[in-house]
Amino acid sequence: MDIHALQQIVHKTRDARRQQTISKFSPAERDQLIHKYHPDFRASAYRPIRFGPNEGDKTVVELATLLEGDSSIQDDADLTAHYTCDVLVIGGGGAGCAAALHAHGAGAKTILATKLRLGDSNSVMAQGGMQISVAPEDSPVTHFIDTLKGGHMENDHALLKTMVEDGPSIAKWLLELGVLFDRQADGNLHVKKGGGSSKPRLLTCSDYTGLEIMRVLKDEVINQKIQLLEFVAAIELLSDEAGNCTGAIFKDLDNQRHVVVAAKCVIMATGGIGRLHIQGFPTSNHYGATGDGLCLSYRMGAKLAHIDTFQYHPSGAVYPEQLIGALVTEGIRSEGGHLVNAKGERFVNELDTRDVVSSSIIRECEEGRGIRTMSGRVGVWLDTPLLDAEHGPGTVEKHFPAMMLQFERFGIDISKDPVLIYPTLHYQNGGVKIDTNSETNVKNLFVAGEASGGLHGRNRLMGNSLLDLMVYGKRSGLTAAGRVGSMKQGQLTLKHLQRFRADAKKHGNVSGVISPMILPAYTRKVS
């Protein structure tokens, strides 16, 4: 049928739905729904990791294969350093920039290396906002409790407490750098309510929060003249005799040559894994999100946490074809947008946590109440015109300019017509286990941002990622910088790799897979 004919049911049922309140599920109902429909519970998609620090732990097949993968570096590789520094930051997204700025600010000679350009990251795309408890009726403790509930009580308490308490000072730092957060009439920071949160707590820069923060941080990295290495991909870490981290080997993507960097501390800020397309899901992640930091840290002996759980953002675009997987910001639901099935019914409280909302969308689609596209995808409607009906004409355009523009390019006016959505692979809830200084169990190896794990439990709350990046980027940068003054540069060896290879051999791993992936291979796949 014509898409406009299919959308009629959304328009027709709008007024009736506006009268409706849908209560949140009880804890028992939530559990039941998630266990039945959430992709984290598809047993066939998982297998135990055969060896290494997380031997026996289950994760998705795609990740297990990469973690067990071999390095492209030969045992006898030339390890003569091309660059030497105090702090080496790997990754140029939010966590990497925050880490580099703080390490540099504390006096450490810092290099920031990234496999794409400075700033090419998921951080830039973050639209929903950043959770910080600044409102008078809110508190860091409430932020802690909300996050814990969202994470199914499995969050690392110390990491979480640190994040929520550091939050307000992060907001101050960003404001001083010139980030333009939305304000109330009295000059205080405007806060929006996010899914799974009991209080309005999202700081926003319209729907460009990530872009605005990253524009400023990138500019600051350049202003501070921090040494940048762009288009170099980390392919192996370096260790000394004691197994401590001492640097990294990169591949220059322009000429395929190796670049060796000696560093007293390494901060891994390589982001997530969306481009592994776990369980065949489309992803909202950028091209470089291939979990490189997980593989590198794992080979070095760093323990991973919660790597069996991923976040599928409820609203990835399904139509038009050009936007498949792209995010439709949660902000639309925060402002009251309904999710509507093919029968014109709501089926979930739209502000429940992401795992619950995603599971309920999958349920509707699996039970035949979805809307299908001719390329074989399925989804439900997100009633965007409702925002104009509810808050006055022009609301969608004013509050979601990025979203409007993105769809307008394909002739779709989201203030007039609903958008078809389905969950999209969005975030790696777990990652490399860190302490409150962002350090791993491998000495002098720090991990910050999405590549780290423990803080978010089994489901990250909306808006907590941007804060996580800044808090642990800062902590890693400051801790590393505080340490390097009294340190000598350690030897550059591949001892850890020899150990890893011996372990792999013992377990008969001959998959032939080389990791990290660096960039995903998209052969002709008709989507």
Partner: protein
């Protein structure tokens, strides 16, 4: 799942894609109509500004600009990607600026030399009125500039077209940061919260929460709605 046709969107373009011929950097290629120039490689969906591209439609002499990831192809289009342009970025310590509106003329002395040709505005794939923004910056209306350039993805397509050698996106970035750092109200509530945390005002509540058993904590969480 029921396989009836009632809830299927018609997409003739998906079922039988019409192939069109386009030209990328001088090479002719056949692609399905309607796809974006950069596609499927998993770009940042219009937020990163990396795929700044010049294009021309069939028989039209006008060369236009776009973000390739956001441009659907038509028959006879020709494209070429824009390499990074060597624009000069001024460096500054944003917090240490004494008079940011005056400092603009030291950092970007070319900014007031705009000759109103409007090429920057025409080049902007984000539909920002760039020319107007440059003038507002020069006249000290930093607030308007910061609002106008919130959509800027720093693709830099406004820069090579400028006959006065202004890099409008970099000027706007400086102006926006100065607006945030120097001319926006200080949020009083934020300072209050920071002080509360420093003074240990939440310590009692933390002690209570952190000492709870898993069961107690779960019960406590259930009461927070």
């Amino acid at each position: 799942m029921a396989q009836d046709d009632t809830n299927v969107i018609d997409q003739p373009e998906v079922m039988t894609p019409r192939m069109v011929t386009i030209e990328i950097a001088g090479k002719k290629v056949d692609v399905p109509e309607g796809i974006t120039v950069v596609r499927g490689v998993g770009c940042l969906g219009g937020f990163c500004g990396a795929c700044a591209t010049y294009y021309r439609t069939k028989d039209d002499p006008k060369v236009r600009t776009c973000l390739a990831c956001q441009m659907a192809v038509q028959d006879g289009m020709s494209f070429t990607m824009m390499p990074p342009f060597p624009a000069r970025k001024a460096t500054y310590e944003i917090q240490k600026l004494k008079d940011p509106k005056q400092d603009l003329f030291n950092l970007y002395p070319e900014a007031p030399l705009c000759r109103n040709c409007n090429a920057c505005t025409e080049a902007c794939p984000q539909k920002i009125d760039v020319r107007e923004g440059v003038w507002k910056a020069v006249f000290g209306d930093f607030k308007s500039v910061s609002e106008m350039f919130m959509d800027c993805v720093m693709c830099g397509m406004c820069t090579p077209v400028c006959i006065a050698d202004i890099a409008p996106n970099l000027v706007a970035l400086y102006v926006s940061r100065a607006q945030g750092a120097h001319f926006s109200e200080k949020p009083v509530g934020l300072d209050t919260r920071i002080k509360e945390i420093q003074d240990g005002q939440y310590n009692k509540e933390w002690d209570k929460v952190l000492k709870m058993s898993d069961k107690e904590l779960a019960e406590h969480c259930a009461t927070v709605k």
